[in-house]
Symmetry: C2
Subunit: 199 residues, 2 copies
């Protein structure tokens, strides 16, 4: 719809916040999480970058509101809750906390829809995977002093992708039947290897 | 094409072997690996079950010929090669041997096509995943005396599914750049947890 206003960045209005969220959703969906900046989102929403900062603390907060679209905890609080576990239980705690993200109403379906989109489109973006790998999992590895924390975060994330594929899409019988506490223990061992232990 | 022969099971002919392979491909593609029996394949191919046994040692051999369609090693030899590794290196060896399956010409693309089909169809069958989980990975866990070897095989398989998704479909940068030897070491740690270590 063409605007009657003269060209130029709009001042903040009643709908500005919602328009920023919409612009963020468009960009995250097409470009992924890592590549998109707050400045680009401001440009997409046709607002001053300062307004984006006025409404949103940072990219992670805007992402959780725009894409996950359910109230999720601040990722830095998730990291904190993981790091409170004893060192030999960090892997299990990370599985517990990240899996809780998929268990929120609608979140699991949304994650699967994103995997399906990645499968079928040429653009292999899954902003939720990038978000969890960077803002939670890599930060846990970084807190252990690992110089390759980014890679460790991506390896840890691929474990969740495989688990969701095998259980929810491919219906591996032993995973469908598995109790959550067992799942947390068993994936936790692999998570410990990816995030905590030396190679 | 209707046959001029009277109804009844056909004797073996020049094309019988190829027809059995075709019937197996149809059944594995629609039913998955685990549920299909040699008897069903004989019925689908309209031949006597003894003929299937005449041409093929077992279901695994028929599967590798029908579905993987490239000469792969006997899965029991793959298991043997894994089990020759020292106990603390079994995970790495399992990654090395199974990953070699995906590296054969055409096999990686075929695996991705099967994942995509599972994503998009209501029937979540990926016969290659079931095959590798049951005939190779679970057998390695079983050789360690684990009573839950079937589940461990499925957990191990989901690690490969996640890895292929994250690297080949979603292009996680750290995985795309990773050298094979590093990948074997790092996935090997998780594989060790799934196949070898106690929970």
């Amino acid at each position: 719809m063409p605007s009657n206003r003269p060209r130029g960045r709009r001042p903040g209005g009643a709908n500005t916040r919602a328009e920023i969220v919409d612009a963020a959703l468009r960009l995250f969906s097409t470009e992924g999480y890592d590549k998109v900046s707050l400045r680009q989102i401001a440009r997409e929403a046709d607002v001053d970058p300062a307004l984006v900062h006025h409404y949103f603390e940072n990219k992670a907060e805007l992402f959780t509101l725009a894409v996950i679209a359910v109230p999720v905890e601040d990722p830095s609080e998730a990291v904190q809750r993981i790091l409170e576990a004893p060192r030999d239980q960090l892997g299990e705690r990370a599985v517990d906390v990240v899996m809780a993200t998929f268990e929120r109403p609608g979140a699991g379906q949304r994650f699967i829809a994103l995997l399906r989109a990645a499968m079928n489109s040429g653009a292999p973006t899954n902003p939720l995977s990038e978000f969890l790998a960077r803002e939670i999992l890599a930060k846990v590895a970084d807190a252990q002093g690992h110089p390759d924390a980014a890679r460790r975060g991506q390896l840890a994330m691929m474990l969740f992708i495989g688990y969701v594929m095998a259980r929810d899409i491919m219906a591996f019988p032993a995973l469908v039947k598995q109790r959550r506490t067992e799942m947390v223990t068993q994936l936790g061992k692999a998570m410990q290897a990816f995030l905590v232990d030396p190679w």
